[in-house]
Amino acid sequence: MSKYLLNKFLYTVDRDPELVERYREDPKGTVEWWEAERANVILNVLTGEKSSWLKLDDVEREALATHDYPKLFELGAHPFLTLTLFIAMFERDHAEPLGFQLEYARRLGHFELPYPDIST
């Protein structure tokens, strides 16, 4: 289990406008491409020195590939990263102000304190 890698996916997609759209339209394909090409890239390194060991497990990959943000919360992904990226992708589909944010809260309504640990 790699909360760090889940967070790295959310972080690197969120800060790239093209990747935000790509992940919205093709979540499964984007996750597969990202894990193959980007998961082991150290963020400020351009010359090919990569990590060699970072890999999503099946549950994590499935949660990302299905836009399953309640599952990401359960897995301990950082809630700020998940929220920010999912607002960017889906707020536009809701007519009411805060419509997506309130739906998001409702879909997490079954979680009670203590919430899943987000330590990495």
């Binding site: 760090y4 967070n7 790295k8 972080y11 969120d14 800060r15 406008p17 150290i42 963020l43 919360f73 950082h78 809630p79 700020f80 990263l81 998940t82 929220l83 920010t84 607002i87 960017a88 805060l98 944010q101 309130l102 998001y104 809260a105 409702r106 997490l108 309504g109 079954h110 979680f111 304190l113 203590p114 919430y115 987000i118 330590s119 990495t120």
Partner: protein, 287 residues
């Protein structure tokens, strides 16, 4: 020696800019009251007639990331660009630009290290809404040089709450020992109870109004002892999963000093989270 012209603690609400600048049907019903409160709060800084601003905030996974995460970081650069693509996207925040007070940054770093705080530093820092929100609310002209100081309130493991208070106390002493005859305002922003990306987010009030009431009392009365007695890294999850932002309020209580009552206190009960504004005028500092 420098004069501490004012100590200011505030929430940083990224929606203020859009709410305050929107018109017609886009203008939310609470905007006018919010603008009135901010205008009054802004006057508390203007009145202090500062030359330089020290700004305490927290990077929200913009430049600082989990592969290299400092606990406390001081910006030391001649200039700072500000606000990020995802803040423009979600909050409508504008791009901003600030001049740095690089000599004060150097003094804070040297003195902080010598005082036992192993401060990280950055010579190229693009700052985010934790620092730009108080500039928008308190000094929209953005005409004063700044020293940004980032704390980690976001990515556990975090330092203990008392460490934020101690750093605040140290910042107060360090700024006061800066050998320049200039007036420095120290401004820090945090949160009261707040939930982000959890089931209690975006409710009609903050997730824990009782915590907010107690927290405002602690800050307004300078009751560091009580705050430290009731707040722990574990307990802060309960009022809301982003309430560790309160640690920056505790840092500012350290700057203001134990038992120092705030000279100006105001709050605004909004949806999602409560706004809170505090200003202290240290003795000898008032304009």
């Amino acid at each position: 020696m420098a004069t501490i012209a004012a100590v200011i603690a505030s929430t940083h609400h990224p929606f203020y800019y859009r709410a305050s600048t929107s018109t017609g049907a886009d203008r939310p019903p609470f905007a006018d009251e919010w603008v009135a409160k901010i205008t009054s709060f802004r006057e508390t800084l203007t009145r202090a007639n500062p030359d330089v601003l020290v700004l305490v905030g927290s990077d929200h996974f913009h430049q600082l990331w989990l592969d290299n995460m400092p606990q406390f970081l001081v910006g030391k650069a001649p200039f700072y660009d500000a606000n990020w693509y995802n803040e423009e996207r979600e909050f409508g925040l504008p791009k901003m630009f600030f001049k740095g007070a690089e000599d004060l940054s150097a003094h804070v770093l040297r003195s902080g290290l010598d005082a036992g705080f192993d401060l990280a530093f950055s010579n190229e820092l693009r700052i985010d809404h934790s620092v730009t929100c108080p500039m928008i609310t308190l000094r929209p002209e953005c005409d004063l040089p700044i020293v940004p100081i980032y704390t980690n309130i976001f990515a556990p493991p975090l330092p203990q709450p008392k460490r934020y208070v101690q750093l605040g106390q140290a910042i107060r002493e360090i700024v006061a020992s800066w050998p320049e005859n200039l007036r420095v305002a120290i401004i820090g922003t945090g949160h009261l109870s707040l939930e982000l990306g959890g089931p209690r987010q975006f409710g009609p009030h903050g997730p824990d109004p009782e915590f907010d009431r107690k927290a405002v009392d602690w800050i307004a009365s300078g009751d560091i002892e009580k705050a430290l007695g009731e707040v722990s890294l574990e307990s802060l999850w309960e009022p809301g999963n982003a309430t560790h932002g309160f640690l920056d309020f505790m840092l500012m209580m350290g700057v203001a000093g134990a038992g120092e009552k705030a000279d100006y206190v105001d709050t605004l009960d909004l949806f999602h989270t409560m706004e809170a504004y505090f200003t202290w005028y240290p003795k000898g500092g008032q304009a």
